[in-house]
Symmetry: C2
Subunit: 567 residues, 2 copies
């Protein structure tokens, strides 16, 4: 039982049938075809040689098959994590060097270890501090940076930078060096892929083509562009005209590689690895949960951390780079009918065959084509509507999104996402540090108490009834002290203060000491302090405390009882 | 009206009578006598020449008189802030140099500006993040470090260090150099002051001396020791025997001084100045609130920031160092009958006379005596009972206290208090990230719903009723998603999920998106999602949102209504 928790393969493996096998095999073939160009492209985005993309899709997916809890998640390189990889490594080592590839392995290893440790210690909750607005803002900004970073391949020029400003400046600087043929291929590929997404589907539907065939045609778009542009380069010898091509890719299974564990390198990679782990986990778990819900399956977030950790460690030792569960490929896998993680393992076999046998076929593949597939894929991530939505909902959420987008674009991915997290925590603390405190009165003829500013209620000048709509803890304890002191100090009639605690889910030690202080100060003013509607768990804690012994008033089950007893 | 907010002196000044004047004058005389040795001692603790202590008690107290809202707060050097000053400066400049005194001015200026800005922007809430346990732990640990740091003066040796370990090691190293006569004076003074605190009061009471006279005698203890040991050194020429004395102190009013605003210095002082501002403000405001409550007076925390800010800026330009409202002197001022801040201004005049005329009298005052007054004063701050109290109350509070004490002792004041704040924020977030979610059922014959694990309740296998005891926000949004998915995925009977929101004080955008996700996923499983008992302010926000339109179920006023409608 306990072993099955850590090895979910034992659960689904024992019910594996011939029918499941055939479903999984069909899904695997479809996903493999889709993954070949995608893997090459994301390797390019990460600043690595194209084969690294294939390698990063083989061992990781097999390890996830063994340790992961999602039946259909497809693990491998994804756009945002590849961008974060490039951003992290380019600050440390020069792109294109051997050291760069080794640092990518170290980053994957470090991220894998972090995920594994978080999983074993059940610390998945850490990822919860990435709020939805921060993630949305981050992904939108990342999509823009990724698209901008690929323009250099479309134009056949050099350009560098990990924030939008640097990138755009660098592009303008090198614009005169544009290779016209490359630009033609790049623009054609991009335009065609956009048309496939937006124009092909309605066209086929109008022509009466079935939904399944339409879906296959749309998904085959990237494969078609890859084949067409590769053929064009080969036939017309465009490689000699300055069109950058993929070139020699070793024909080999994933090699056994060793990440560098030099302390200075690991030190520099610590924060990026942590952020990559969190972002990767959040992206992966939300895809997994969404797909699992469609079949009433369970996802164990802590076990998912273990699965992703194993996948990344696998990537580190087989020539890959950081990976996670990808959205688009998982959806394709699901739609194609994958029933168990075995489909992933079959995909891995398909990619291994590709790595072994098909790499000569991509010798003439132009890098501009890969850039075009990336641009079209990531622009679907860009969605500014979150800004409008957050603006309409709350200022705090809006500030967090805006800061994340602006800082990610202006200062890069690490700064952007870190600032977003810190800001949302601070804003949350700020909100709870100034809780809503309503002075309440009795609605005539009922036992209900409502805000005196919103309703017609009965009040007694000798009694102040206050309802605090927040747990009491250190950040708002002193606020309550000030509030009560200000309310009572100027009003000589007051003899009783009743705190209605129906919305107080917790009272920490600071708040308890503040309550004692309030009690003492009210006593100095000849005012009694009472509590009402204290929740069970809160009362359990208060029961043995000195505070209840010195409380000048009483604790009442309901606010109505309190008022009755006092009068 | 608005001017009076920023200049509280306008409020109390216009009702000033002859009687108030005489009360204030009497209080001022008493406080002045008490403050002379204390000011000298805290200057020593801050690593500054003794006159700096007098200067720091003159301009600041006058400025607080104009801007502060407390009637009785006495502003000047205090133990913990003096220790923090020494800790901040010793890392940057060598003690005893001119640069050190100038850096102390810069620290006061920086801290004053920070306080002023926080006051003008009404940001006093920032100080709320110092939880009571963190402050208690910090003050206890600081008291120990201060006492240890004064042992070198008691023994007449050299010793350095800003954490306990360094201090103790340094003391042991220099122990052989102990000056026996200094040690005799130091030990005698310390023992006598302890006896005055613990033994004199009961003795006088037994002898039938009145309470007022007893109080005066106890408070005059330090003055007596100062006079006695100064006379001893003078009469027996102990200064020539190696007893370190205060020596020449300039006879002058506070000089006009200019803090250094060198960017590199200010950069290094930024964090210490911020921590000094926060700690100083917290200490000051809690004294002010406690004393104000005794007379039903109001304290405006934001205006207090302005008052303390002005006081520190005053200190910076008149040869002082960081100051704040002190506990013991304010209580003495209150007990002595001070009625308005004018008492503080009269105290300032008294100290100015002392600085001008009395400094030759302290030429022979041994530093060991000053150290003894510090040790006896700060040991009353040391109180480990907070550890026991926090242990009994909650693990989170206990961890915060323990970490603050251990880290302050081991790594110094800045690290200790920062770690305490960060840890208590993280623990609070952790707690709220895993909220208590109770599955509830109906208590037969009532309309009340209670936890099915705690009470005998009716349930319906088709309906899952969940009460979340926490506001829903980003840190717990995904937790709720997982919780509901796990509860429903395995249970094929479930057709309805009702979320009872009576304890949900807020729903942020992340939580709203999680609710949408939960709604969609439940829909995939053919389960309806309902809400009940949503609070007014929360409902106000939700009303226009897409979520309510797509909600598969309904929103009910009460959980009982919800159950009735569904059946």
């Amino acid at each position: 039982m306990s072993l099955a928790r850590y090895l979910p393969i034992l659960t689904w493996g024992k019910d594996y049938t011939r029918e499941t096998l055939s479903n999984d095999l069909i899904a695997a073939v479809i996903v493999t075809i889709m993954l070949i160009p995608q893997s090459l492209a994301y390797a390019l985005l990460a600043g690595l040689p194209p084969e690294a993309g294939l390698y990063a899709s083989i061992a990781p997916i097999i390890l996830y098959t063994v340790f992961g809890t999602s039946r259909v998640l497809a693990v491998g390189p994804v756009a945002v994590v590849s961008l974060m990889t490039a951003a992290a490594l380019s600050n440390i080592v020069e792109q294109g060097t051997m050291g760069y590839a080794v640092a990518a392995l170290s980053l994957a290893a470090l991220s894998g270890i972090m995920l594994l440790v978080m999983g074993l210690f059940r610390m998945g909750f850490v990822a919860n501090f990435l709020s939805h607005p921060v993630i949305s803002g981050f992904i939108t900004a990342s999509g823009i940076i990724i698209a901008a970073s690929q323009l250099k391949h479309i134009l056949g020029i050099d350009a560098h930078g990990h924030n939008l400003l640097d990138l755009v400046l660098s592009l303008f600087q090198h614009l005169p060096e544009t290779n016209v043929i490359t630009a033609v291929i790049g623009v054609f590929a991009t335009a065609f892929l956009f048309w496939v997404r937006k124009g092909l589907k309605p066209l086929l539907q109008k022509l009466g083509v079935g939904a399944t065939m339409t879906g296959v045609a749309v998904k085959a778009g990237p494969v078609f562009v890859v084949v067409a542009t590769t053929l064009a380069v080969w036939l017309f010898g465009l490689g000699d005209q300055g069109v950058k091509i993929v070139g020699d890719v070793p024909q080999s299974l994933p090699p056994l590689t060793l990440p560098s564990f030099s302390p200075s390198l690991l030190g520099q990679l610590l924060l990026p690895a942590f952020l990559i782990s969190l972002i990767g986990f959040v992206e992966s778990i939300s895809v997994a949960q969404t797909l699992a819900a469609k079949k009433r399956q369970r996802i164990d977030p802590d076990q998912e951390l273990i699965g992703l950790g194993a996948a990344n460690i696998g990537a580190a030792f087989t020539g890959g780079f950081p990976v996670t569960g990808g959205f688009s490929r998982s959806v394709v896998n699901f739609d194609a009918g994958a029933q168990t993680p075995a489909a992933g393992a079959f995909t891995a076999i398909g990619l291994a065959i590709a790595a072994l046998a098909l790499t000569p076929l991509i010798f003439f593949l132009p890098k501009a084509t890969l850039a075009a597939t990336i641009i079209v894929a990531v622009l679907s991530l860009v969605d500014f509507s979150i800004l409008k939505r957050a603006w309409e909902y709350s200022l705090a959420d809006f500030s967090a999104v805006l800061a994340t987008i602006v800082l990610t674009l202006a200062m890069g991915v690490d700064v952007g996402v870190s600032a977003g997290v810190v800001l949302s925590v601070l804003l949350h603390l700020y909100k709870t540090s100034r809780p809503h405190i309503a002075e309440v009165g009795l609605i005539e003829g009922t036992e209900h108490f409502r805000n005196i500013n919103r309703h017609e209620v009965q009040t007694d000048p000798r009694v102040v009834s206050l309802r605090v709509d927040e747990s009491l803890y250190f950040a708002n304890a002193r606020f309550l002290e000030d509030f009560i002191q200000n309310r009572v100090a100027g009003d000589k009639n007051v003899r009783h203060v009743i705190l209605q605690c129906s919305a107080v889910n917790d009272i920490d030690l600071s708040a308890l000491e503040s309550l004692e202080m309030i009690n003492t100060r009210l006593e100095e003013m000849d005012v009694c302090l009472h509590l009402s509607e204290v929740k069970g768990p809160v009362m359990d804690r208060l029961r043995d405390q000195h505070f209840l012994k010195t409380l000048t008033g009483n604790v009442y089950l309901s606010q109505f009882d309190a008022l009755n007893c006092i009068n």
